[in-house]
């Protein structure tokens, strides 16, 4: 028989193992240290025939798109993105090929991105929401682009102020190329609004200008039509986005520019109080989901749907009533609406090959240059002033009704840990209508949980 391992020996071995692991922990990979690469020095020859990879969350509609290179035929985000990809591969002067990595759908996209960074397998260029950039840029995982934008022919002067702010950190460093701006809009059933007397003689929708008027309109609408005045998706963070919007319209912030939580404030109490009041009066319904609220609106059971820019073209095609998309109404002193921005970022790579970096940036520059197609095919707002102000854009279906959203869009400041903070904030706010918590308690909890996430 073999001699059993005695208890002291076992303890020694265990202690040794933990110590070894602890030491290995201390010697773990250092935080990334992306430094500005000299992309201007990259020559055409360096770019010739390069193949790089791209990651995005718009799916793989290759069957529908094939080898199409005309962006005007795209009807969805996926189709337009894939067509633009085809167009770049077919037309770029260096013969660069950009292959899409098997992507994840939107809801788990960042989990896949995080895994890729952890495994040092991040693609050459990534699609990313502006609010998520600091989580990666702060760790040195993204290439600062300030000095390289010009080399790729990107004119930052043409970017709208919110779009540029969305990719610029507190120190003024730029880590992304804006692709669009998307925010909350109101999608209106003009037939129902007319029935309720909420349309002017000129055919313009009468939108509320204060929280009190919102309630009055809702009651007037319900009396006249017997339908629901306003609906939104509770499972899609719309209540949080409404909260953000109403705080911004009071000239206050939910997160200060320095990254501090400013949730539990007078403006916060007012905003959450208004939302809670809409639920308690039965004007808004807390159980409505993205699917059910959208379906109810499309079926003509709801007058006003709060949803984003990304559905404008889809609604235009499928609404069987007179449809209008407008800026979110201003209920306080100044216009303002929650918004975010899709951007392109360049992950810092171990080999730091300037040619690959430059190829990635050229792809982002191409996307920005062809931004009009993206904005017209999907409903998203262009980040370029020249596009927003163009006659072509202004005359396009619905666009004139919400082009101003691009001016007063309120984006999340560049703060580390926003994703977790937003989730914590949304959950804390929900306790008011889901579990009957008071506005004060919910905001106090939100304040400390958001602060803890941003810590």
């Amino acid at each position: 028989m073999t001699r059993p391992l005695t208890r002291p020996a076992l303890l020694r071995w265990s202690a040794l193992s933990v110590a070894a692991l602890t030491l290995s922990a201390c010697g773990g990979a250092a935080a990334g240290s992306a430094e500005t690469a000299d992309l201007a020095a990259v020559t055409d020859d360096d770019l010739e025939g390069l193949t790089i990879t791209v990651g995005d969350f718009f799916g793989d509609c290759v069957d529908a798109v094939g080898d199409e290179t005309d962006p005007t035929v795209g009807t969805t985000e996926c189709e337009t993105m894939r067509i633009l990809n085809n167009k770049f591969n077919a037309e770029n002067p260096w013969g660069i090929t950009v292959n899409r990595e098997a992507g994840s759908e939107w809801s788990v996209y960042y989990d896949a991105v995080n895994s890729a960074f952890a495994a040092d397998t991040a693609p050459d260029i990534l699609f990313m929401h502006a609010a998520n950039i600091p989580d990666y840029a702060g760790r040195g995982l993204l290439l600062p682009l300030d000095d390289s934008l010009e080399a790729a022919g990107i004119d930052t002067a043409d970017l709208t102020e919110p779009a540029l702010a969305g990719v610029t950190d507190g120190q003024g460093a730029v880590h992304g190329v804006p692709h669009d701006l998307h925010g909350n809009l109101v999608h209106l059933n003009m037939d129902l609004l007319a029935e309720a007397g909420l349309v002017t003689a000129e055919g313009e929708a009468v939108l509320p200008t204060s929280p009190e008027e919102l309630v009055e309109h809702a009651e007037q609408f319900e009396q006249a039509t017997g339908r629901q005045y306003i609906a939104w998706a509770n499972d899609f963070n719309i209540p949080f986005r409404m909260f953000w919007t109403l705080v911004a319209q009071q000239g206050e912030t939910v997160i200060s520019d320095e990254g501090e939580a400013t949730v539990d404030t007078e403006a916060g109490r007012e905003a959450l109080g208004v939302i809670a009041d809409l639920y308690s009066r039965g004007i808004a319904q807390p159980e409505q989901t993205y699917d059910s609220s959208q379906q109810a609106w499309l079926n003509g059971e709801v007058g006003m749907l709060v949803n984003g820019t990304w559905v404008v073209n889809e609604y235009s095609r499928s609404a069987s009533f007179d449809y209008r998309a407008l800026d979110f109404p201003t209920l306080y002193d100044q216009p303002g609406v929650w918004a975010n921005s899709h951007t392109w970022v360049v992950p810092a790579q171990e080999d730091a090959d300037p040619a690959r970096y430059r190829a990635a940036l050229e792809y982002a520059a191409f996307m920005l240059e062809n931004n009009e197609a993206w904005a017209l095919n999907t409903g998203h707002l262009s980040p370029l002033t020249s596009v927003l102000e163009s006659d072509f854009y202004q005359q396009a279906d619905q666009r004139a009704g919400y082009a101003t959203t691009a001016e007063f869009a309120s984006l999340v400041p560049q703060v580390d840990g926003w994703q977790g903070a937003e989730d914590a904030l949304a959950r804390a706010l929900e306790t008011v209508w889901l579990t009957g918590a008071s506005v004060e308690d919910a905001l106090a909890a939100a304040q400390s949980q958001v602060a803890s996430q941003l810590d």
């Binding site: 028989m1 073999t2 265990s14 193992s17 933990v18 692991l21 602890t22 290995s24 922990a25 201390c26 773990g28 990979a29 250092a30 935080a31 990334g32 960042y110 989990d111 995080n114 895994s115 960074f117 952890a118 989580d135 990666y136 760790r139 040195g140 995982l141 509770n234 499972d235 159980e287 989901t289 059910s292 379906q295 840990g417 994703q419 977790g420 989730d423 914590a424 959950r427 929900e430 306790t431 889901l434 579990t435 909890a445 400390s448 949980q449 803890s452 996430q453």
Partner: protein, 378 residues
């Protein structure tokens, strides 16, 4: 009844010890080598995939370990303080009263069982002591103005325990009832066995998709039925009070077929002559079930209960796909919190600390169950 266990006749002399110390040690070494060869594959896999990750998790839980940069800083117990601590904590008799009363009832049951000799006094004491400590600990809660450092951890732990406490008995009783129903010969029985087991072969994504459709308030079969019964439609997955029960229902439907198969195997191991003898002695069906079937299934029951408790504590897929832990945090469970902390928030150290607490909870509960159930058996 023929016993399959062969016993050595009492008169047979024990085998003589081998002569010579050298031969003994040589044969011992040979035996040890043989044992090592047979054990090596398991041990290698165990060390690589169980022991090393657990030790690594212990080490990681002591650091602020970042997923994205794979860097570790701030050695200490911060992760545990963040998980278990809070500000303005206080103790009161009425906090979580219903839970504590249930635990006290379990302690009383253990004491009574020990008194009646159905349970060893030591086993009863060893099991009851931690439960009493838990009853005391559950009185801790944030006072006015105070709060837990991570309220989501406590919400997740609570929902995980609720899920386990409700789902496990349903799986055990449901599995046994179905096994009793199909434990007969014939085509219909084979059909039902297959039908009951079939959901278990489906992947979690398909199962949850089926139930999301069934529970849809606009198009689902359940809403269609309840509306016809005049009960109206409920959006089960978006109501805080029904989200977790809906996940439990889905899980029971999905996995009860597996416990049924285990019970079925147990039922077929029970000697039929026992039922014949009981019947000759005038025992009814209920008596036979109580005095032959239930004792005959003890081992299978231990297996089912312990394995289901362990599986239930690790609930994740169904919750993540059906409710994402919502609405609010009403169906958040521990593994989802681990996942979100580690992958979404990049806090691998904190996620490791959460996992280790879950590991300890599962270990303690499983060991207590094994001890109690085995002690009862003996």
């Amino acid at each position: 009844m023929v016993s399959s266990t062969k016993s050595i006749p009492a008169t047979q002399a024990p085998p003589a010890p081998p002569a010579g110390g050298r031969r003994t040690s040589a044969s011992s070494r040979r035996e040890a080598r043989t044992a090592a060869v047979f054990l090596a594959p398991f041990l290698l896999l165990f060390v690589a995939f169980i022991l090393y990750p657990v030790l690594q998790a212990v080490a990681m839980s002591l650091f602020d370990w970042d997923l994205l940069t794979q860097s570790a800083t701030d050695f200490g117990l911060d992760n545990y303080v963040r998980m278990l601590g809070g500000t303005g904590l206080t103790w009161s008799l009425t906090s979580m009263l219903s839970w504590r009363l249930v635990l006290l009832a379990v302690v009383v049951t253990l004491a009574l069982a020990a008194r009646r000799g159905r349970l060893g006094a030591r086993t009863a004491a060893v099991t009851a002591a931690p439960l009493l400590l838990l009853v005391l600990a559950l009185g801790i809660h944030p006072g006015p103005g105070g709060q837990w450092n991570d309220p989501r951890f406590w919400a997740a732990l609570r929902h995980t325990v609720e899920f386990t406490v409700v789902a496990t008995p349903l799986l055990v009783v449901g599995g046994l009832a179905m096994a009793l129903l199909v434990n007969r010969k014939g085509r219909s029985s084979a059909f039902y066995r297959t039908a009951f087991f079939l959901p278990y072969v489906l992947p979690v994504s398909v199962v949850t998709l089926i139930w999301i459709y069934l529970l849809n308030p606009d198009r689902g079969l359940v809403a269609w039925l309840t509306e016809r019964l005049g009960l109206g439609a409920v959006d089960y997955l978006n109501e805080p009070t029904t989200a977790l029960p809906a996940v439990i229902l889905t899980t029971v439907w999905w996995t009860v077929g597996f416990t049924m198969i285990l019970f079925l195997a147990g039922l077929q191991d029970i000697e039929p002559s026992l039922y014949e003898a009981a019947s000759l002695d005038g025992a009814g069906r209920w008596d036979s079930f109580l005095h032959i079937t239930v004792p005959g299934l003890k081992r299978v029951t231990v297996l089912v209960v312990v394995s289901q408790v362990i599986a239930s504590f690790q609930i994740f897929g169904q919750v993540y796909l059906m409710t994402r832990g919502g609405p609010g945090d009403s169906s958040l469970v521990l593994i989802q919190h681990v996942y979100e902390s580690g992958i979404r928030d990049s806090a691998l150290g904190y996620a490791s600390a959460l996992s280790l607490v879950l590991l300890v909870v599962i270990l303690v509960v499983s060991l207590a169950q094994l001890k109690l159930l085995r002690s009862e058996e003996s």
